[in-house]
Every structure is written in structure tokens, then in C-alpha cells.
Amino acid sequence: MPGMQFPYPRKSSTPSAYTSTRSSSYRQRRALRTYGPPFLGIVALLWLFLWLFSGSSNGVRIPPGTPEVVIVTTLDPKLSEKYKEAIKENRRHYASRHGYATFFPNTTDYDLMEKTPQSWSTVPALRHAMTIYPHTPWMWYLTSTALIMNTRESLHDKLTEPKKLESLMIIDKPVVPPDSVIKTFSHLHGDRAELIITQDKEGLAGGSLMVKSGEWAKFFLDAWYDPLYRSYNFQKAEGHALEHIVQWHGTILAKLALVPQRVLNSYTRDVGTSTTEGLYQEGDFVANFHGCQRDPARNCEEEMGPLMSRWRELRDQERKR
């Protein structure tokens, strides 16, 4: 139809630029289909490796042979060598049986400031143990007036295993008996507890306590050891300071697990009004001659005599077996 007007110009015979792009995009698509999946696979593998390696490097590597618990006992250098040796021997025996470490600093090793009772050295001693054994999860402080009587069970089985701890914990109990308004948390998980302690009739029994090392422990020990608490003249020194911080600071109370006294800290004699709840019985873990050092009328060494020989007997029996 010559002379006819078309609304559009006719398609020319020269190939338009678009065709070439179309074909190239087709080629690209094909290439993608063939090389895409293996490429993606490689990327995924790389990512997986990276993730695995970074994961392992993030976690703190615990060197082999790290003791699970460090037993800390502070010793007054004025005590007789024989007595000190007996105490150390008692700890070492239990430690060697379960692969624990021991740490026996002197009470005079730390700078306590003037007029501060020697008993305060408990706190820096625990911090010191944490520094020496940085990977050990638990520190157990046992006062020098106590003996470990039953060496059969490890602390893990007996106490620190979360399920076990949960079954032992006393919840919703006034921190300081009989009627402190501050009570232990009722919804504390066993694996979140970082301070395990017992209670006698007067309050928290600091003679035997376990602290889980970590950032919280640093905070707890440093706060407890604050110079203003040391200078405040608490009647029972670090014991009252501990009760104070537990009751005033929620972040400390939240980590506190209170366990029955005889699990960790049986007393050989009664303190205060008499009930026999916390009294030592044959087969208990620890016998604590509580107050024998503070009371001038009592003599620790003499008092400990019978139980000390009983412990030696038990030890020898074990060795024979």
C-alpha cells in the first residue's frame, strides 16, 4: 500500500540495540543457572567455617587440669605450726581426693588498714584465689576453725550441681533470722546462684561459703571489702558487712542461695538459743568449732582434738581400702 501513512515507522532491517541486550541477558541467565548453585554452596561453607571458628575462639578456653574448686582457708600466723599443718592436711586430703586445689594465705598478707579485724582477710583471700586460678569455677572458703569430716562426696555432687542446689535451697526465708524483712528469692535458679552460704541462729554463717568466680564475684567481693565497711566497726566485722550488703543490694541478694546449715557448715557447739538443727552429727560434711578463736575461754586446738583423731581414723580406713 504505497503512500499509506503508518502511525509508527516501519521496523528497519538493522538490528536494534535491544535484541543484543536481550540475548546477552539470556546468556547471563544460563550462566547463572549453571554456576550459581556451586557458588552459593561455597559461600555457605565459608560462612559455616567462619562461624565455627569464631564460636570456638569466643568462648574462654579452659586449660586442662584446672581444678574444679579451690579451697581457701586463711591462717593466722600466730597459730602453732602443728595446728596449722593439721588444718592444711585436712584440706589437702579432701582436695586431692576430688582433684581440687587448696590455697592457704596468712591473715596478715593483705592490707586491711589500721584497726580492721584480721577476719576481714577472708575477702581479699577469695579474690586472690580467683586471680591465681582464673578458670576455676568455684571458690570455697572454709574457716580455719573447721574440719572436713566426710570426704566421700565431691562438692559438685553434693552441692553445686544446679538441680541438686535447687533441691537444697531455702527460698523465701529471712536473710537474718528471725524476722528480717529481706527474704531470699523464691524464684532463683540453681545455675544462677553464685554465692552459697548457710545460716546459723544469729545470721549468715560466713565460716563456710562458696563463690562462683566471674564478674559478679569481683563485684561482690570488692563491694564487701570496701574501706567504708571496714572502717564502720560492724560488731561482727565482715559478717555483719555481708549481712548488710545482702539486705541492701538486690544484685547481691539475687545470687544468694541459702542452704541448710548441716550441708556446709555444721557447728560443734550451739550458738545462741538452743535447737539442734545445725549441730554436728557423725557423717556430716564439715564440723565447725564456731567461735573457739574469738572466745578466750575456749581453745580450738584442744576442742578439735577428738574430731581430729576421728578424721585421721576415717582417712586411714579409706587408704586401707
Binding site: D111, P124, D226, L228, W248
Partner: protein, 796 residues
């Protein structure tokens, strides 16, 4: 004062005014009299019948009158030596201490120990207990012994604050309404200190008061009000002036005064004006009859308060109706309700509200806009018909651009073009909200990870000393932070820091920072960093985001090692001894991380970022991160045993407590970083010493060994050239002008952050003005020359 003449004796004129007497009234010298006589005159001039009050007056002029030594003691040396001891020994002094006003103590130290010991003892009324005063005098090294005398049972006449008066009066008398009567209303001191007073007796060692403490407290009536009339005032003044030898009868009629429009103090009829006491009393009375300003430093006039708004406010103040006077018809309950209404600060809501309403508005206008878009397209098509594209353009060139656009809009692609256009238009239209959304989203801009906590309403609450300036400062500061938070998508939590008796143990008052931060952490559970800001701060550079300014590169913007800049001389590493170099060596029980000056050195372990000024940590502007560590430090920060032993020394409360625990509890250090003061908390000149200026060529040109001046970690003062981020007018309430500083910095910030168009406009107007000035100078010069020429010609 006609009444005075009626009291004069009949021969008064004869005695004093007759011509033959006049020559006798030649110069008369006081000291020509015999010593007994002039000493007696001295006594009259110096000894006041009622106890002299030393306190803070709302108006500085009145303040002078209160603390001035008697006039006669300022005439000559002899009189001074004689009169001053008389003044201090024979008068009874009372001291009134109000919250935050150090005046009485300053006065006591200012008069010197000799005069102090002459005074023997003085009565002090204050709401603080004995222990507070003992400590505060000891610190001022003034030797006193204190004794508790008694306490005035609450409630004292209640006055609920001046601001409510202003607003009430305003609503009653709008500015164009009836003529505003002058304020003749008097504020008692009790209105300034509305808590119950305790009275203490101050004694100086070495003297025993001769006849026991003269315990007399001037019962201050709750100011006279027109309605109570003359009798009430008369009787009250009679009661007050037990020892005065004259009685004062005040006649007062508020209504007549209002109608007549008299502006001076109320009319008074003074009878029996024979002794100088009357004058003294009268003057004294008058001085109190002034409208007080609720500001602590007094006075209404100020360079900053020149905006129309402030003027209106000033007018309002003057327009207080006398009927609104304190105490009248104000019951405790109503006053309390009032105060709550005023103090209840509207919480700043999150951004969403405004955003949605804006979206709705936009959707209403959308159809119209779409139409506009279509028209655009038609216009483009017009062009299209003319320029059919050729095939020759292979490469992208700017000249090619219109053709390409035309291609895009060819008929086949019109829908695509429409969509693209629509998207662009939408992007442009919503750009503000898109930017906001982007900046705010935690995984993009991360703005919602930051919360700004602004402590507002300081000094409000039960103490109520907020005045017009304080409100203005608050308004400006809050607006500044709101803008900043909105710009970057941060959360803003304005907290009410008004003094409240919130705790059972009242002594924890104004230690609320810790609780406020904890609450904010609860309120914004997804935020990470919390930025505390005092009210007296101003963000000078709102274009800096916190991320780019500090947090993107924490390792570089902050420093961990306290030894880098250590104004407190905190020992690091802590060595476990009491700091004595000669002490025996003890076992260092700390772990390597606590001993290390930089903790573990990773930015991730920083939980608290604090600036240090010349005197140690400064908590006017600091950052804290949500973490277990932070929970612990917030928990241990305030402890009753620490507080009990140290609250006298810890003048700066939380700040001192933080310094203390930082120094003494090693677990803190590995998680604290310091930020150079100028980065987040620059001070104006005058706070923390004088501005040392920048070295020539700025901080970048510094070489090792040069004087650092305000550069680096020790830089404290705001540097305009370096465009510092934030100014903290710390301590301006002590002797500096808070509002003036805030105003100036606001203007400066606006000036520094003008956009190009504004800069252009300013440049035009500036250059125009400069040119005009030059022209004028030139014209003047010419006129002068012409004049001189004329003169010269005339002379010729």
C-alpha cells in the same frame, strides 16, 4: 503626712524657725558633745528593738539593707570603733536559712571572729538539723557550738509559689483589662521556706551568754492584706515590737488605693514620732513592702529578658491583684492541688503520635497530587513529539540526557514512567519521615538504641523556688533536646527532678539520678545507651549524631586509662595498700584485668562513659549502657553505710560517691571509659577556671611539647572554632547568670548552624549595613570638611 504637724508643740516654730535662732544653728559636731552623750546617741542609732534578721532577701537591694552595718558606723573611724561593738553586742540576731541559700553562713564568716564573739550567740532558724550545720560550719572553719532550741510546728503560713500568682492574676486581669494595681504584697521568709523550722542556738567558744538565750522569735504575720485592714496589721506590729518605745499605727485601705491608682506603698499614719526608732521601724517596714521576685538572685531586669514574651510576663507580675495575696482563702488542700497541677510536667511522648497524624494529613492530600503528576506527564509529552530520538547516541553524555528521559517516557513505557515518577514524588514527599524511620530503626540508624534522660523541673516540688528565668531556661533546654532527639530518632525521657520527700528515710533526697536511670531502663527495654543530661545544658551542634560523634569508634573517642588525665590523682593500678608508699608490701590480690589501666581494651566492655572536668568526674552529661555491670553499679552507688559516714563530705552527692567507688572498688575500673570534657560536656568560661583558649592554628597544629591549652583530654571550655557539641552551664546558679548564658549560647548555636540561604541573607544585610555605615561616615566627613571650608572662607 499632715498628722505629724498636729503632734508638734505650739512653740515649735519659735524654737527652731525664728530668725534669731537661725544663726545658732551653724555647724554642729556630734563629737563635740561629751562622750556620754554621743555614745548615747550612738546607742540610739545602733541598737534595734527587734532582732535583726540575717537571711536572703528576694531583692538584692533589700539584701544590702539586711546585712549592712549601721550607717553611723560608716561615718568615721572613732564612731566605727565605738558603734560596731555596740551593734553586735547589744542587738539580737536571728538567722534564717532557706534551702540552697548560703547567705547566713557567709555573713557569719564575713563579719570576722572579733564581732562574732561579741555577739555571744544567735538564733538560727532552719529546716536542717544540727548535724548539717555543725558540718557546714566546720568546713567553713568557723568555730561554733550549736544547740537545738526548738522547732516550730508546721504548718507555717503557706504560700504556694509566685508563679501561680502570676497566672492567676493574668487570667483575672488580662493585659488589656482593668488597670493593674501595684503589688503591695509582702512575702514572709516563711513563704520561701515552707517547711517547718528548727531553731538552733549558735554560740562561739569562750563566751557564755549572760542571761540565757534570749529566745524570741518574731512572729511574722502572713503579710497584711487589704481585706484584713488596719487593725490586724496594727496589732501584729504591736506584738512584734515588744521593746519598742513607740507604737505604730498603720492605716491602710487597699480599695481606695486601687481606685486612685496610687503606686506607692500604702498610706500610713504614724503617730508619736518622737524617737528615732520610729524611723528605723518605718524604714524597715517599707523595705519589706516591696514586691519580691521569686528568683534567688533577685531583680527582674536582665539583659536576656527582652523578648516580647518575657515582657508580657513581667507585666503580668506587676499586675498581681492584691486580692490574690498569700494566705487568703488558700487552704492547704487547694494549694497542694494547685501545685500538683503546675508541677505535673507533661511527659514527652514518643514520636509515633505526630508521625501518624502527619501521614493521615498526607493521605488526604494525595489525590490532588496524583493529578498534578499526570499534568507533568502531559507537559513532557509535548516535548516528545518534537524530538524523536535518533540512534546515534552510544555513550552517556549530559547533552544526551533530555533525549534519554524522552525515551523513558515514550508511549510504550508511560506506565512505568508514571510509577517511577510516583515513587520519586513519594520519596521526596515522605523524605522527612523516611529519614526519621531510617535513623530510628535499630538495625539501620540505631537511633532507638539511645535514650536521652533530661532532668527537668529542678528545684520545683516542695521547695518551689522556680522563677520566670528558671522556667525560661527549662523551656529552652527542653526544646533543644526535643529537636535533637527528633532529628536523630533518639528517645527522650524528661524526668521530673522536683524535690520530693519520696523516701521513708528522708536523707536520700536529691540522690534520685540512680533511680531515674533505672526507671528509664525499664521504660525503654530495647535501648542500649542512656545519656544523662542536666537541665542547664545546650546542644550546640544538633547535626552531630551520637553515633558518629562517639559511639561508632569508642576506642578512639574515649580513653580508659585514668592516668591520661587525672585531676583527682587516683592511683592506678590499685595496689591494695592504703596508698602510703612506706607501708609494708602486701600481697596484691587483684586479677590482671583489674590492674590493667585499660581493662580488656575492647570497646565492648565499656559500660560507663564519664567526662572529667578540672575537679574530677562530672555527671552533668554522661553515658551508661544497659548491662549487668550497670545494674550492679547502680545498686551499690548509694549505700546507707557509705552515706552515713560520708554525706557531709560528699557535697556533690552521686558524683562524689562515684569517684569514691571508682577509687576503692577495683571491679569498676575495667568498665569505665572517660571522654574528653569538651566532647560531650564543654563548660562556658568561668566554670572550672578561665578559658585557656586554643593554640594558634587550632588543636591539629599542636606539636609535642606545646602548651596544650584547651586541646585534648584536659580541654574543658567550649571552643566555638572547634564547634564543640554541647555546653553545660554547670554551676551557673552560683553567682553566674544562667539565663543569660543559655540565651547567648542558643543564639550562637543558631548562628553557627544557619543554612546557606540564611547565611546568604545575613551576608546581604550585613554588607548593606556596612555600606550604609561607610556612606554615612563619608557624608559626615564631607559635611565637616565643607563646614571647615565655609569657616575658612568666612574668616577670609
Amino acid at each position: 503626712m499632715d498628722a505629724d504637724f498636729s503632734l508638734l508643740s505650739d512653740d515649735f516654730e519659735d524654737l527652731f524657725c525664728s530668725p534669731h535662732q537661725i544663726h545658732l544653728r551653724a555647724p554642729f559636731r556630734l563629737l563635740d558633745l561629751s562622750p556620754e552623750l554621743w555614745l548615747r546617741i550612738c546607742e540610739y542609732a545602733v541598737i534595734k528593738p527587734k532582732p535583726i534578721r540575717v537571711g536572703k532577701e528576694p531583692n538584692p537591694k533589700d539584701q544590702m539593707a539586711v546585712v549592712q552595718q549601721p550607717a553611723i558606723a560608716r561615718t568615721c573611724r572613732l564612731l566605727r570603733i565605738e558603734a560596731l561593738p555596740m551593734y553586735y553586742a547589744m542587738n539580737k540576731f536571728e538567722m534564717l536559712h532557706c534551702f540552697g541559700v548560703p547567705c547566713p553562713r557567709k555573713w557569719i564568716s564575713a563579719i570576722g571572729s572579733a564581732h562574732r564573739q561579741r555577739m555571744k550567740s544567735m538564733l538560727m532558724m532552719s529546716s536542717c538539723d544540727l548535724g548539717f550545720w555543725e558540718g557546714s560550719y566546720r568546713r567553713a572553719s568557723i568555730d561554733v557550738s550549736l544547740e537545738f532550741v526548738g522547732s516550730e510546728p508546721s504548718p507555717v503560713p503557706l504560700f504556694t509559689g509566685f508563679n501561680k500568682f502570676m497566672t492567676a492574676a493574668q487570667s483575672k486581669f488580662p493585659l488589656g483589662g482593668p488597670p493593674a494595681p501595684e503589688v503591695t504584697h509582702r512575702l514572709d521568709e516563711s513563704a520561701w521556706c515552707p517547711s517547718s523550722f528548727q531553731e538552733h542556738l549558735l554560740k562561739w567558744p569562750g563566751f557564755e551568754p549572760s542571761n540565757g538565750p534570749g529566745r524570741h522569735r518574731a512572729k511574722v504575720a502572713s503579710s497584711y492584706s487589704p481585706a484584713s485592714g488596719a487593725e490586724a496589721t496594727g496589732s501584729s506590729s504591736g506584738h512584734r515590737r515588744r521593746t519598742s518605745r513607740a507604737s505604730l499605727n498603720v492605716h491602710l485601705d487597699g480599695h481606695t488605693r486601687t481606685q486612685l491608682g496610687l503606686t506607692a506603698s500604702p498610706t500610713k499614719q504614724v503617730q508619736l514620732g518622737t524617737t528615732p526608732f520610729i524611723e528605723e521601724d518605718d524604714r524597715d517596714h517599707m523595705s519589706l513592702d516591696r514586691s519580691p521576685s521569686p528568683q534567688r538572685d533577685g531583680g527582674w531586669a536582665s539583659p536576656g529578658l527582652t523578648t516580647p514574651f518575657e515582657d508580657a510576663k513581667g507585666a503580668r507580675i506587676r499586675g498581681v491583684s492584691p486580692n490574690m495575696n498569700g494566705g487568703h482563702g488558700v487552704t492547704w488542700a487547694s494549694a497542694k492541688a494547685n501545685s500538683e497541677r503546675v508541677n505535673g510536667y507533661p511527659r514527652y511522648q514518643s514520636q509515633n503520635q505526630g508521625f501518624f497524624s502527619r501521614v493521615r494529613k498526607m493521605s488526604m492530600s494525595l489525590p490532588l497530587f496524583a493529578h498534578g503528576g499526570q499534568e507533568d506527564r502531559y507537559a513532557e509529552k509535548e516535548k516528545l513529539g518534537r524530538g524523536r530520538p535518533g540512534r546515534d547516541g552510544g555513550r552517556m553524555a549530559w547533552s544526551d540526557f533530555p533525549r534519554r528521559i524522552g525515551l523513558l517516557l515514550s508511549r510504550r513505557r508511560k506506565y512505568l514512567a508514571l510509577i517511577i515518577l510516583g515513587v520519586f514524588v513519594a520519596l521526596w514527599w515522605f523524605s522527612a519521615s523516611i529519614t526519621f524511620w531510617y535513623r530510628r530503626t535499630s538495625w539501620l540508624g540505631g537511633g532507638s538504641k539511645f535514650v536521652i534522660i533530661l532532668g527537668a523541673n529542678q528545684g520545683g516540688g516542695v521547695m518551689e523556688w522556680k522563677g520566670a528565668r528558671e522556667w525560661a531556661i527549662e523551656r529552652d533546654s527542653v526544646k533543644n533536646k526535643k529537636r535533637y532527639a527528633a532529628k536523630w530518632g533518639y528517645e527522650l525521657d524528661i524526668v521530673d527532678m522536683s524535690t520530693k520527700k519520696r523516701y521513708a528515710h528522708e536523707w536520700r533526697e536529691s540522690w534520685e539520678k540512680v533511680d531515674v536511670i533505672r526507671n528509664a531502663m525499664k521504660k525503654y527495654p530495647h535501648a542500649e545507651w542512656f545519656w544523662w543530661l542536666d537541665l542547664n545544658t545546650f546542644i550546640m551542634e544538633p547535626t552531630y549524631s551520637l553515633q558518629s560523634h562517639i559511639f561508632n569508634d569508642l576506642g578512639r573517642t574515649t580513653y580508659r586509662d585514668i592516668n591520661v588525665y587525672n585531676p583527682l590523682k587516683i592511683q592506678h593500678p590499685p595496689n591494695g595498700t592504703s596508698g602510703d608508699p612506706n607501708a609494708p608490701h602486701f600481697a596484691n590480690y587483684l586479677d590482671p584485668e583489674s590492674l590493667s589501666p585499660v581493662g580488656d581494651g575492647k570497646p565492648g566492655s565499656v559500660n560507663l562513659i564519664v567526662p572529667q572536668d578540672c575537679g574530677g568526674f562530672n555527671l552533668g552529661s554522661f553515658f551508661v549502657r544497659r548491662s549487668h555491670w550497670t545494674d550492679r553499679i547502680l545498686d551499690i552507688w548509694w549505700d546507707p553505710v557509705f552515706y552515713e559516714q560520708r554525706h557531709m563530705e560528699w557535697e556533690h552527692k552521686e558524683q562524689d560517691a562515684l569517684e569514691y567507688i571508682y577509687t576503692n572498688q577495683p571491679w569498676i575500673r575495667p568498665h569505665v571509659a572517660f571522654v574528653p570534657q569538651r566532647k560531650v560536656n564543654a563548660f562556658p568560661n568561668g566554670a572550672c577556671g578561665d578559658d585557656r583558649g586554643l593554640p594558634e592554628g587550632g588543636c591539629r597544629a599542636l606539636k609535642i611539647g606545646d602548651d596544650m591549652k584547651e586541646c585534648g583530654t584536659q580541654g574543658i571550655h567550649y571552643q566555638e572554632k572547634e564547634r564543640d557539641f554541647l555546653v553545660n552551664m554547670a554551676g551557673c546558679e552560683w553567682g553566674r547568670d544562667c539565663w543569660g548564658e543559655m540565651y547567648n549560647f542558643r543564639q550562637l548555636s543558631n548562628k553557627l548552624n544557619r543554612n546557606p540561604w540564611e547565611k546568604f541573607k545575613d551576608w546581604i544585610s550585613d554588607s548593606w549595613n556596612a555600606r550604609k555605615l561607610k556612606e554615612k561616615a563619608k557624608r559626615d566627613q564631607e559635611a565637616l570638611e565643607a563646614q571647615q571650608k565655609e569657616k575658612a572662607e568666612q574668616q577670609q
